[in-house]
């Protein structure tokens, strides 16, 4: 499963001069050295994950008396059950999922429509609108958090799970418009023109011609947005109060009390909380890379 996560890029072997060397009958020292250093770095990167896992299967006595990297003397799989309990996993994961399932497709649809108008209809003032929106994709969320709190309070949407979707949409849309605009700009005009002559409406052109062409970008944005929404903390912690409304990132707080932190169950919870994101990533990874590529090249 893990190896599949990483297939993102099937790259041409640009630096691969291994075959050339092999022909000359010399061992590929560069390749071996590279492999060893990459392997060591990868182990270093894996280490925190390993430590987390070890912590997630140890009871308190083991945590207090054995080194962090050692295997547990008794495997405390019960930590996972108590993580579900303490972190109220089904409620918080349900809340996060609910938000993501509504927010991500809706946001993409709204962003795609706007990007279409900006890139293909090209009306007066479009460039200024694009500029203002693009800048919005770059400004830190925290700048507006104070006033956003007041806005949500005035709307009676403070501490509302569905209410949170509105600012989430607003903060996701600019970047998506920015990326999709680049994509739509690349659609050949002839495609659109011939459809128009065949009598297609603007909406049909958007829905049946332009949008399908943007599938890789949409898939990439879907993954990025799902991950970002699932993991969002700053706005959620500002705008949600009641524990039954908490999302996954807020629930991590449940493991710390004034008496200390329950590290075993907490690490179990962290692992479980990443599962939906990994699933989405695995499902869309093929497109994700094409989209990341397009986004990167577009500039």
């Amino acid at each position: 499963m893990t190896s599949a996560v990483a297939t993102p890029v099937i790259a041409p072997e640009i630096f691969d001069d291994k075959s050339a060397r092999r022909r000359r009958g010399r061992p590929d020292y560069v390749g071996i050295g590279l492999w060893i250093s990459l392997g060591i770095t990868a182990l270093l990167w894996f280490l925190p994950l390993y430590l987390m896992f070890m912590t997630s299967v140890k009871g308190r006595p083991d945590l207090n008396s054995t080194p962090m990297w050692s295997l547990p003397t008794t495997w405390e799989w019960g930590n996972y059950a108590s993580a579900i309990d303490t972190g109220d996993f089904w409620t918080t994961a349900g809340n996060s999922l609910l938000i993501a399932i509504i927010k991500v497709p809706l946001g993409l649809a709204i962003a795609a429509a706007a990007a279409y108008a900006l890139a293909r209809i090209r009306f007066r003032g479009g460039r200024a609108v694009l500029m203002v929106i693009a800048i919005g994709s770059m400004v830190p969320v925290q700048i507006g958090l104070g006033p956003l709190f007041s806005t949500m309070l005035n709307l009676g949407l403070l501490d509302s799970l569905y209410g949170l979707i509105l600012p989430y949409l607003a903060f996701g849309i600019p970047y998506q418009i920015f990326v999709l605009y680049g994509f739509f700009r690349g659609v050949p005009e002839e495609l659109e023109e011939s459809a128009r002559i065949d009598g297609a409406s603007t909406f049909r052109i958007f829905w049946q011609i332009v949008l399908p062409l943007a599938k890789p970008a949409l898939a990439a944005l879907f993954v990025l947005d799902f991950v970002a929404t699932w993991n969002e903390y700053a706005m959620a912690t500002t705008l949600l109060r009641t524990q039954s409304n908490w999302t996954i990132p807020l629930a991590v707080q449940s493991f710390s009390t004034q008496y200390g932190t329950d590290y075993g169950p907490m690490n179990a919870f962290i692992f479980m909380s990443a599962i939906p994101v990994l699933i989405v990533y695995l499902l869309f990874q093929r497109y994700f890379v094409q989209g990341a590529l397009a986004g990167a090249v577009k500039g």
Partner: protein, 309 residues
Amino acid sequence: MATVALVTEGRAKRRTPKHHRLTLALPYLIPAVVLYGWFLLYPMLDAVRLSFFEWSGFRIQEPVWVGFDNYVRLFTQDAVFWTAFGNSVVWVILSLILPTGIALILALGLNRKMVGRNLMRAVFYIPAVFASITVAAMWRWIYNPTLGFVNQFLEAVGLGAWTQSWLGDPQFALGSIFIANIWQAVGFSMVLFLAGLQTVPVELIEAAKLDGANAWQRFRAVTVPALRPTTIVVIILTIINSLKVFDLVVGMTGGGPAQSTQVLALWSYTQSFTNHQFGMGGAVATVLLIVTLALVIPYMAWSMKGEDR
């Protein structure tokens, strides 16, 4: 013949006056503009407005106009602000060097066909899918002074004298948080660089090989130019993410000890929501906004160049 007719007709269509096209565009544009304006643009501009008021944030109290007082206080009396400002600057600079450099090196290495390549890519990418707030919780445990990995490891290899209260010592806290940030941030930039490496024209590499260019020359002459657009995107995203850093600091130190890990985004938040000084919070937010725009607008100008409107 038919195509010619199609094209001319199409051209005519495109010459629809621009104000007419606006009515056509509005239905597509309105949902995005309303949401963006209401829940992002307005709060941000309102933060700037609030920076000229003194306000506790409580509804029963009216904001009081104080002009530039908040800024004067911020620049002359608020020592925490300068710490936060400095830390944010340091964070941006370090982020541009360390995680970005590591990501580039890893991408170049992992672009080569080798055993276990996919597994390695996975290992580097997985930290990026964890929520930053959970990464903070994980690493707080790793840095735990008595039971945490770092100190236990130092003891085990005989470097017991080096053990520290990593997050509790103002000297080490920010660096310790930054290491967790490197761990998490490398994967995403690496994927972007790997994607960018796909745009390196293979024919050019082959041609250079035939001309006898060595690996370094091929890298300099072909790979580096081809990677330029990707690099610019990675750099801009890194800057933006560095200015946004919040979750990691909140989760690991909350800005402490003694405000030593304070950053602009968190200080703005703390002033507003903890100290109930929405005016001061707004002033910090405004400074952060100006810093962000100063870094981002040149990029925007560059990226919009060549658009034909």
